[in-house]
C-alpha cells in the first residue's frame, strides 16, 4: 500500500465504518456520530467551570468502553469521541473566562484579562466570537502540523532509535516534563519520582509482587485509571470545593455570577487580530510539540508576545492589553488552542503523552488494544498496517471536529453561558460521585474507589503545595514502559551496564536529561 492508499483507508474507516443511522439517504457512521457527540459534550464541559476536558475524558472512557467493548473496531468511535471532547472543550473553555471572569482552566486565565473587561463594556458576544475564531484558527494550524510532522518524525525515530536510545528518550522526556511543568523543578522531579514509585508497586517479573506489603489489593499493581483520575480529577474537585468552602467561610456566601454583553465580529476585526493569531499559533504549536510543557505556558508566551507587538502597533484609540483589547483574547486563545494538535505529535510519533488529554488517548488505546501509539504505527508497509489506518482515521476525526468547530461551534459555544447558573458547590460533588461510579464500572471493585480517594488526597496535597500533578501522571503512565524498555535494552546489549551510553544518540539524550534539569534550576534561581 502507498501513503495515499493509507490516507484513503483511514478516511474510509471513519466515513464508511459501521452505520449508526441514515440521514436524507446518506449513511452516517458511528465514528462520525461519536465525534459530533464528543464535540458538543466538549463545549458543554469546557464552558462549565470546575469541569473541563480531563474530567470529561475520565468519565467518558469507561462508558465508551462498556458500549463499544474491547475490540479493534471500538478504537475509532472511542478515540473519535475523545478527540471531539478535546476540540470542543478547547473553544468552550473561553466562555466562563470571558463572561464571568472565571477561568475554566489555567490556560484561559489570560483570556479573563481582556475578555471580562470587554464583557463589562457590553461586548461579551464580540469577545466570544474573537475567542472562537482565534481558538479554531490556532487549532487548525496545529492539526496541519501534526498531520505533516508526526509521520515523518516517527519514521526518523524508527530508523535511528534502538532500545537503548528509546530508554534514554523516555528518561529525557520525564526529566523535561518534571522540571519544565510548574514553578519548581525540584517539586516536579519529586512528583515524577512519586509517579514512578507508585507504578512499580505490585508489578515486576518475579513471583513475589514487589513493594506490595503482602496486601492482596496491591499484589496486582495500582490500576492506572484509578491513580491518574484520582490525582487529576478527584484532587482538582477537592481543591475547587475547598476554595468555595473558604469563600463561604470568609464572605458568608458563595457569589453567583451574572451575564451581559452583545457584539459582532466584522472583517476589519479579523484583519486586526490576524497577526496576533498567526504569532500565537506558531508559538503554541512549537511548545505543544515538546512533551509536557502544556497550554498554560503557550498562553502566557502568546499573550506576552502579542502584548509587545500591540504596544508597537496599536492605534491611539485602541485599548491596551489587559484593559479589554480583543487582540489580547486572540493572542491567548490561538496560543493555548494550537497546543492541542501539536501535543499529539509526541504521542503518535514517540508514544510519549505530552499532556493529560493525550494520557487519556493512550489509556483508551491501552485498554481497548490493537493500537500502540509510537513509532511503530507509521510503518508504510506494502501489506496493510492496521495501526497506520487507525492513525489516519484519527486524523480524519480531527478534520471532522475542525469542520464542526468552524461551522456550528461558535453558535453552540455562545449558548453555553447558561451552564454557569448551576452552583459549583452542587455540581462538583455530583461530578465526584460520577467519577467514582465510572471507575467502579470499569473493574467492579470497591478498591478502585479506595485507590481514587487515596490518589485524590495526594493530588489535593500536591496542588496545595504547588506541585504540578502532571509529572506524576506522565511518570505513572511511562513508568512500566521505561522499565520494560530498559530490561530489553540491557539484554540486547549483552548485559552491558552502560547501555544508556552505548551510542552517541543515547549519550545526547542522557546529557540532555541532566542539562535540562541543571539549566532550569539555574534559571529559576536567577529569576527569584
Amino acid at each position: 500500500m502507498t501513503a495515499l492508499d493509507y490516507i484513503l483507508a483511514g478516511v474510509l474507516a471513519v466515513i464508511h465504518g459501521p452505520e449508526a443511522f441514515t440521514l436524507l439517504g446518506i449513511p452516517v457512521s458511528v465514528t462520525v456520530l461519536m465525534v459530533v457527540a464528543g464535540f458538543f459534550a466538549g463545549i458543554v464541559v469546557g464552558a462549565t467551570p470546575g469541569l473541563g476536558q480531563v474530567i470529561a475524558l475520565a468519565i467518558s472512557l469507561p462508558i465508551l468502553i462498556s458500549i463499544f467493548g474491547f475490540n479493534a473496531s471500538a478504537l475509532l468511535p472511542v478515540m473519535g469521541f475523545m478527540i471531539g471532547i478535546m476540540k470542543g472543550s478547547t473553544v468552550g473553555g473561553a466562555v466562563p473566562a470571558i463572561l464571568f471572569n472565571t477561568p475554566g482552566t489555567p490556560d484561559s486565565y489570560m483570556t479573563t484579562l481582556d475578555g471580562y473587561p470587554m464583557t463589562r463594556n457590553g461586548q461579551a458576544q464580540k469577545a466570544l466570537r474573537v475567542a472562537h475564531f482565534s481558538s479554531v484558527s490556532g487549532d487548525t494550524f496545529s492539526d496541519i502540523c501534526l498531520f505533516v510532522f508526526a509521520p515523518s518524525l516517527a519514521i526518523l525515530v524508527e530508523r535511528y532509535l534502538d532500545l537503548p536510545e528509546k530508554t534514554a528518550l523516555i528518561i529525557l522526556s520525564l526529566s523535561f516534563i518534571a522540571v519544565v511543568v510548574g514553578r519548581s523543578p525540584a517539586k516536579g522531579l519529586a512528583a515524577a519520582a512519586l509517579g514512578l514509585f507508585f507504578v512499580y508497586v505490585g508489578t515486576g517479573e518475579d513471583f513475589h509482587p514487589r513493594l506490595s506489603l503482602n496486601a492482596p489489593a496491591l499484589a496486582d499493581g495500582i490500576p492506572i485509571t484509578a491513580a491518574v483520575i484520582g490525582v487529576l480529577v478527584v484532587g482538582s474537585i477537592f481543591s475547587e470545593l475547598e476554595k468555595l468552602w473558604r469563600e463561604k467561610s470568609i464572605a458568608g456566601a458563595i457569589t453567583p455570577t451574572s451575564q451581559s454583553g452583545d457584539g459582532r465580529l466584522h472583517w476589519t476585526d479579523i484583519r486586526r487580530i490576524a497577526p496576533y493569531i498567526g504569532r500565537s499559533a506558531v508559538i503554541g504549536t512549537a511548545i505543544g510539540a515538546l512533551p509536557g510543557i502544556g497550554s498554560t505556558l503557550a498562553a502566557t508566551l502568546g499573550y506576552a508576545s502579542g502584548g509587545a507587538f500591540h504596544r508597537r502597533r496599536k492605534a491611539p484609540d485602541e485599548p491596551e492589553f489587559g484593559k479589554g483589547a480583543m487582540q489580547g483574547i486572540a493572542a491567548t486563545e490561538a496560543a493555548n488552542s494550537s497546543v492541542a494538535g501539536a501535543n499529539l505529535i509526541p504521542v503518535l510519533s514517540l508514544g510519549i503523552p505530552g499532556n493529560t488529554a493525550a494520557v487519556f488517548l493512550v489509556l483508551a488505546a491501552d485498554t481497548i488494544g490493537g493500537f500502540n501509539p509510537g513509532p511503530g504505527v507509521f510503518r508504510f508497509t506494502s501489506t496493510e498496517n492496521p495501526e497506520l489506518v487507525i492513525a489516519f482515521g484519527l486524523f480524519t476525526t480531527m478534520v471532522i471536529a475542525n469542520i464542526l468547530n468552524w461551522t456550528v461551534g461558535g453558535v453552540f459555544m455562545r449558548c453555553m453561558g447558561i451552564m454557569i447558573r448551576i452552583p459549583k458547590q452542587y455540581l462538583l460533588p455530583v461530578v465526584l460521585l460520577l467519577t467514582f461510579a465510572s471507575l467502579y464500572v470499569q473493574q467492579t471493585s470497591m478498591a478502585m474507589i479506595g485507590f481514587a480517594l487515596f490518589f485524590g488526597a495526594l493530588g489535593y496535597i500536591m496542588i496545595k503545595l504547588g506541585v504540578s500533578p502532571l509529572p506524576f501522571v506522565i511518570a505513572f503512565v511511562l513508568g512500566r514502559q521505561l522499565e520494560s524498555t530498559a530490561r530489553q535494552a540491557f539484554s540486547a546489549t549483552g548485559g552491558d551496564p552502560f547501555f544508556l551510553f552505548s551510542s552517541w544518540i543515547a549519550v545526547a539524550f542522557m546529557a540532555g536529561a541532566v542539562a535540562i534539569i541543571v539549566i532550569t534550576i539555574q534559571r529559576r534561581r536567577a529569576s527569584t
Binding site: 462508558i63 462498556s66 519548581s184 523543578p185 525540584a186 517539586k187 522531579l189 519529586a190 519520582a193 512519586l194 514512578l196 514509585f197 512499580y200 515486576g204 517479573e205 518475579d206 513471583f207 513475589h208 514487589r210 513493594l211 506489603l213 477537592f238 470545593l241 475547598e242 468552602w245 463561604k248 458563595i254 452552583p423 458547590q425 452542587y426 460533588p429 455530583v430 465526584l432 460521585l433 460520577l434 467514582f436 461510579a437 467502579y440 464500572v441 473493574q443 467492579t444 470497591m446 474507589i449 479506595g450 480517594l453 488526597a457 489535593y460 496535597i461 496545595k464 503545595l465 513508568g479 521505561l482 522499565e483 530498559a486 540491557f490 539484554s491 548485559g495 534550576i521 529559576r524 527569584t528
Partner: protein, 181 residues
C-alpha cells in the same frame, strides 16, 4: 520559635520517604536485587526501577532542601487538613454505606441473601443510592457549612442520573457494590 519553610518540610518528608524505600522497604519487599544472573546471563532485577524512583526522590528532596526558597511558597494550613479530612470521612462513610447497606437491608427485610438479590430492584440500588447520596449531599453540606435542600436535591439527582446513565441502558454494567458481593 522560628518557622520551618514549607519547602524544607517537604524536602525532609521526601528524603525520609526515599530513605525508607531504599533502605528498608525495597530490600524487604522484593525477591531480586538491582540485577540478577539467570542461566549465566545478567538481567535487570525487580529492585532496580523502584531504586531509581527512590534515588530521584532523594535528589528532588536535596534540591528542595538546599535550593533557593521563595517567600510566598505554597504551604498546607490547618484549613487544608480540616477540609481534606472532612472529604475523606464523607467518602469513606459513603463507601461503607455502598458496600453494606444492601446486604444489611436484605438480612433484615428479605428472605434471600443479598448475593441472590443483587440484580433485583430495589435491593440492587440500596447501597449505591444511600452511599452516593451521602457523598454528594455531604460534600455540598461541608462547603455550605450546613445541610441544605439544595444539597439533598443534588444528592438525589446525582444518584438517579448515574443509575439512568449506567444501569438502565447497560445490562452488563454493575454499580457499586454489586460487583464485589
Amino acid at each position: 520559635m522560628r518557622r520551618i519553610h514549607p519547602d524544607t518540610a517537604l524536602a525532609v518528608i521526601l528524603l525520609a520517604f526515599a530513605a525508607l524505600v531504599l533502605v528498608f522497604w525495597l530490600p524487604a519487599d522484593t525477591d531480586t536485587g538491582l540485577y540478577e544472573i539467570k542461566r549465566g546471563k545478567f538481567t535487570i532485577g525487580d529492585a532496580l526501577a523502584p531504586a531509581f524512583a527512590g534515588t530521584v526522590m532523594a535528589i528532588a528532596g536535596l534540591l528542595l532542601l538546599f535550593g533557593s526558597k521563595a517567600r510566598d511558597a505554597p504551604k498546607l494550613d490547618t484549613g487544608h487538613v480540616k477540609f481534606l479530612s472532612a472529604m475523606i470521612a464523607i467518602v469513606l462513610a459513603g463507601m461503607v454505606l455502598m458496600r453494606w447497606a444492601g446486604p444489611a437491608a436484605t438480612m433484615l427485610f428479605a428472605d434471600d441473601d443479598y448475593r441472590l438479590l443483587r440484580d433485583t430492584v430495589p435491593w440492587k440500588y440500596l447501597g449505591f443510592s444511600s452511599g452516593g447520596f451521602v457523598i454528594v449531599a455531604g460534600a455540598s453540606s461541608v462547603v455550605e457549612g450546613r445541610f441544605s435542600r439544595g444539597a439533598a436535591l443534588a444528592g438525589v439527582v446525582a444518584v438517579l442520573f448515574i443509575i439512568a446513565l449506567y444501569d438502565l441502558p447497560f445490562e452488563d454494567l454493575l454499580l457499586p457494590p454489586n460487583g464485589d458481593v
